[in-house]
């Protein structure tokens, strides 16, 4: 709200200025366009490379598109074949984990923000610190816990196949480590919520959980959108848990990032067009989500 008023106020000032500084303006746009090229060229070069035949790869510039006879979708087809299993697996653990940590994060933020009790900041600090801890300091106990103590594939053997058990491990793990950031995102919104409304509801005799369901949850929908978008890209992009909990690229539960990390490895060296096609296929879901909801993603980053 304030953002708009501020920038609207600035428009007037800037319009006056822009008459005066036309040359500065040209320089500004030149800089912005130059930066756009800098930020996009790795992706652009990756794309044109991914549709090149091996001949075109040698004969054309890395940033130039191939000619009509040098273009092929062969690498995309091959990469898609190799990655399709991983894309399904990634989706299967990313979506439930995203929803779970959003719901749990919203609940935690509500209990720690809109219900007032002593010591809640201390508990909240535990959540916040959880955002920043390096996974290197938990990953060995984590793999030992799943492989030697929990052993879901063994215990739930009647209900789940071993690859489904691995996916369940990933859902639980990603949920647990996603809760801190989700809690912080929701708390940032709940702190600005009107106390009067909640107090009024309490005076009317509404219970803590009723207030959550009837007042807080409906008002949280925009923040849920932010958290979904941010957390979806985070979990989809994640690699360290995939590497350590799944273990092998050949595992039927392998995620798309894990398969991509070893795609088309051969003694002759890396097949770059294949790698580029694989990278773009892996990035596609997050790219679509990002481009459709760039503002919401930025909001998730900012808090």
């Amino acid at each position: 709200m304030t953002d708009e008023t501020v920038s609207a106020g600035r428009t007037v000032a800037d319009e006056r200025l822009s008459d005066r500084f036309d040359l500065t303006r040209v320089g500004l746009y030149a800089a912005l366009v130059g930066l756009t090229i800098f930020y996009l060229i790795p992706v652009q070069s990756g794309f044109v490379t991914s549709i090149k035949t091996s001949e075109a790869l040698i004969n054309t510039q890395p940033f130039a598109p191939p000619g009509p006879d040098g273009a092929t979708v062969e690498k995309w087809a091959f990469a898609f074949d190799a990655l399709s299993r991983g894309l399904v697996n990634s989706l299967v653990f990313t979506v439930p984990a995203t929803i779970l940590c959003a719901v749990l994060g919203s609940m935690a933020a509500y209990g720690l923000t809109l219900v007032d009790w002593r010591g809640q900041v201390a508990v909240f600090v535990l959540f916040i610190a959880g955002i920043f801890i390096p996974y290197q300091s938990v990953v060995i106990p984590l793999t030992q816990f799943w492989s030697q103590y929990a052993m879901l594939d063994h215990r739930l053997g009647l209900v789940l196949s071993s690859h489904q058990a691995t996916l369940l491990e990933l859902i639980i793990t990603h949920t647990a480590y996603g809760i801190p950031i989700c809690t912080m995102l929701f708390r940032s919104q709940y702190k600005t919520m009107s106390w009067e409304m909640i107090e009024a509801a309490r005076l009317d005799g509404a219970s803590v959980s009723r207030i959550y369901r009837r007042i807080v949850l409906p008002l949280s929908i925009p923040m849920f959108a932010v958290v979904f978008i941010f957390q979806f890209t985070q979990i989809w992009n994640e690699f360290l848990f995939s590497l350590t909990l799944i273990g092998s690229v050949n595992d039927p539960a392998a995620s798309t990032t894990l398969i991509l990390s070893g795609l088309g490895e051969a003694l002759e060296g890396v097949d770059y067009p294949l790698r580029m096609a694989g990278a773009l296929i892996t990035a596609l879901p997050t790219l679509i989500v990002y481009l459709l909801f760039a503002d919401k993603f930025a909001e998730g980053v900012r808090v």
Partner: protein, 323 residues
């Protein structure tokens, strides 16, 4: 706001006293305890706290215990004979010191570069321009991609014969350089790629802070006849300090745990000589060499280093009432 909260609190206590009817026998104390906000809110924050707490703090505690054993290879660790031998071994391991040195270089250069580039981007975009939102979306785009994805792009960018980077240097008659193979160049090349990926993040943080500075301050500076550069340096940048601090914390903590990109760029646990950092060393000792106890000692060291950044930050945030 604080006064409002205090007021509401008194309202609430009044109400409680009334319902309790002033009696102070045992049953109503228990009843009050049951009605207390602490207990009523517990079902909300309790389950997330338990799940997160076990996985985060439980695992860190377990990791500390593991680092005191001499567990390696297969099987379960033996927790009966505990000692600090792994930490001694770390101090005497020259490759740990090399990794530490690289970690410090990465941390400092990466953080400063991201803060600087992000500031330039934010200042350029902090005005009414056409396609302003599109530019912002483009600059933040790398941050939405997985490190495994961006590592593939940069391997190609840095390719010795066909990479764009070497073509660019070729224009000036320089190179070709083996960016990812030369021990003197590799760390810089990795940092450059990571700055490409993260500078959009700092830009977003700065932009949010810039937008909250009242327009009047810009105008006042204008009226005083300050040029754009001077205005930003004198008036605007000092007000960005909170944004700079929180972005620095995030960047430093990222630098401490950066692993994905290095793994993907070098196709495995061993980064090229000159780019091994503590985070990759830890993963290699554990998941490649099965030196679990030694690896968890490095992991715990990384946790302590992170804590040294997080704790002061959270403390000052708490003091300012920002938590």
């Amino acid at each position: 706001m604080k006064r409002l909260v205090a007021f509401l609190r008194t309202v609430r206590t009044e109400r409680r006293v009334r319902t309790d009817g002033g009696t102070a026998d045992e049953r109503s104390t228990a009843g009050r305890w049951r009605d207390s906000d602490f207990l009523q809110s517990a079902p909300f924050w309790g389950p997330p706290l338990v799940l997160m707490g076990l996985f985060v703090y439980g695992a860190i505690g377990w990791n500390f215990l593991l680092s005191l054993t001499d567990h390696s290879g297969f099987g379960r660790p033996d927790y009966t004979d505990l000692g600090l031998q792994n930490y001694w071994a770390m101090i005497q391991d020259p490759s740990i010191w090399e990794a530490t040195r690289n970690t410090v270089v990465l941390l400092v250069v990466f953080t400063l570069a991201c803060l600087a580039v992000g500031l330039v981007l934010a200042i350029l975009l902090d005005r009414e321009i056409r396609f302003g939102r599109t530019f912002r979306t483009v600059y933040l785009l790398p941050f939405a991609l997985s490190f495994i994805v961006t590592a593939q792009f940069w391997r190609w960018m840095y390719n010795v014969n066909d990479g764009i980077i070497n073509q660019f240097f070729g224009l000036f008659g320089l190179g070709p350089y083996n960016w990812l193979g030369d021990p003197r160049l590799v760390l810089g090349a990795v940092i450059f790629a990571l700055v490409w990926q993260f500078s959009g993040y700092t830009m977003v943080i700065y932009l949010a802070a810039l937008r909250s500075i009242p327009t009047a301050q810009y105008e006042a500076a204008r009226v005083d006849g300050a040029g754009t550069f001077r205005m930003y340096r004198r008036v605007i940048v000092p007000q960005l300090r909170p944004a700079i601090v929180s972005a620095t914390v995030v960047l430093v903590l990222f630098a401490l745990k950066a692993f994905d990109f290095l793994y993907a760029v070098f196709d495995g646990y061993r980064p090229r000589q000159g780019s091994d950092i503590l985070a990759t060393k830890m993963m290699r000792e554990g998941f490649n060499n099965s030196e679990w106890a030694y690896s968890s000692a490095i992991g715990l060291t990384l946790f302590v280093l992170s804590l040294a950044v997080i704790a002061p930050y959270l403390y000052t945030q708490y003091k300012r009432g920002n938590l």
